[in-house]
Symmetry: C2
Subunit: 352 residues, 2 copies
Amino acid sequence: MKKHILVISGDGIGAEVTTWGKAVLEQIGKTYGHEFTFDEALMGHEAIEATGSPLPDETLEKAKASDAILFGAVGHAKYDNDPSAKVRPEQGLLGIRKGLGLYANLRPIMLFDELLNASSLKPEILKGTNILFFRELTGDVYFGEKKRSADTASDLMIYHRYEVERIAIKAYEAARLRGKRLCSVDKANVLETSRLWREVVQEVAKRYPDVETEHMFVDNAAMQLVKNPKKFDVVLTANLFGDILTDEASQIAGSMGMLASASIGDGTGFFEPIHGSAHDIAGQDKANPLASILSVALMLEISFGLSEEAKSIKDAIDKTLKEGYRTGDIADSNTDKSKILGTTAMGKKVLE
Amino acid sequence: MKKHILVISGDGIGAEVTTWGKAVLEQIGKTYGHEFTFDEALMGHEAIEATGSPLPDETLEKAKASDAILFGAVGHAKYDNDPSAKVRPEQGLLGIRKGLGLYANLRPIMLFDELLNASSLKPEILKGTNILFFRELTGDVYFGEKKRSADTASDLMIYHRYEVERIAIKAYEAARLRGKRLCSVDKANVLETSRLWREVVQEVAKRYPDVETEHMFVDNAAMQLVKNPKKFDVVLTANLFGDILTDEASQIAGSMGMLASASIGDGTGFFEPIHGSAHDIAGQDKANPLASILSVALMLEISFGLSEEAKSIKDAIDKTLKEGYRTGDIADSNTDKSKILGTTAMGKKVLE
Ligand SMILES: CC(C)[C@H](C(=O)O)[C@@H](O)C(=O)O
Ligand SMILES: CC(C)[C@H](C(=O)O)[C@@H](O)C(=O)O
């Protein structure tokens, strides 16, 4: 198989971790006889510094022309504390989501048995948790009209029927191949957008009678994820609710540094660790490269249909963890101190 | 002291639990020589059935004329699964918040040592957690203009400067009397409303140099609450984010049935358990009356300035828990089966 992959490292620890995702791809290419070619492009704070734009045209063009994108992270504290900044790194990420039509963000929340104790949740609550989130990614209050005057500010939360329908279909298709349960999360007791959301999901549900559907209010979902995460199989939700719930769930899994996500639409797929740019540890060889490596596994599986190759990556990670190796973020009091590795050493261990 | 209290039981388990809140108020009146008078009014599904409106005019008038309101819960599954319903129980709650100008919802997340094990979180993560949420309650996407066409639906997320300022002041005043740390939660990297929010909070912060301010994105806050709930003191946030985060936090505390909230503004205060109408257990003498009783403690403290009386209620609850008594929702495998009580028996125990 011949594939062209665009690497967008972005800000903070982006470059350090993406290096290892790319190295694993190269190794998979060699081992299984695929020809992976690579290019690079700028996004986020780095892109603003170099070109003035968080998403240079060249980046979007290269993205469209590639078969898949491996992304690192964007963000910089400099903009966060300046509410009046007009240009922000995050606009790059939002721009590429919109530009490539990446309307579905898939985030598998999976547990590594070896890391059960890394969570704040009790192991007996956690054990057996396996959730696949479908977060809508190109609509909602993220992209609705924004207004600002001296005394007010507003963002329009808006959904179109087709936007809800296309992601609902993707989520139901996935549920069918998994636990056959789908929980759609909204706030239909208050929001008009949620009432449309619920209406459309109810319609799509009829086409999947083999999948059990539940509708849950977002406040309740935020609770249930803590109380009994095992009860969820596929969770389908809107952009803003998905932003909050997937991050909550990743922390529940206790392994933020171990989780990857795939953003897909009708064109090129986009794969990224769920952790952010973490400037506080950038350049210190401390970041956990496993989420970037797992992003590559998602890419192989989802964009290229290479399940065996994807599995070999997950097995390599499992083995590394079983041998007791950890990066700082997933180490606990039982970890053998000599087995706490930096980014580079952990990347190499998995490659072996 | 002479005070007139309006009791609005609402739907589901509302009536059962509110009975005990009221009984405790009566007892406090007798013991401390206060004259509490009571009236009742309808809201929610019950009100719709009786009058066609979720918030009859009479209820709002009585509410305005009272010194404080003790509320139960509203909601009914009948409306939840019908996205086209025009009249909904929740409109009663939203209407009274707006009608009374209850712009600040205070939700203390406190732990009862006896119940440390009731949470899904590990006791060592939880121990020492003590958070006071300030959720804005009369603005945001809850009250902005809603539109609906065949193919789209929208809700306007909107904030005015004065709305952010007045709740920020309340939160800073409270922080000053507590741990002197305030975390303001927003999504300023994406939302214009959040950028206004952050701007105003930054301005108000200058007037409270003795309080340490942190700004956090809502997705990160949803994570940090699971990862390290102890790190929060006062949390200040908008209506929608507050809805999600306070419910998440209450589950973290593991004692949903034990938490109360106060909604305040410039007039009459409104006190309620944070649990909902729980129709599945309504009328079965199973509901936990402690949150309603704790709502009364909040009322005494916040609306009437009766701290000693409030403390005597908390002490009575502490004592009941220390003696091993539990309702079903807060019982665990260590609970002596003979000490698992129904609503009535638990209410009586606390009265004793
Ligand atoms: C960086 C930010 C714009 C982004 C979002 O809110 O979508 C991030 O939090 C995410 O979840 O990918
Ligand atoms: C019932 C509903 C409208 C309400 C809200 O979303 O505010 C409830 O969830 C709450 O938190 O009080």
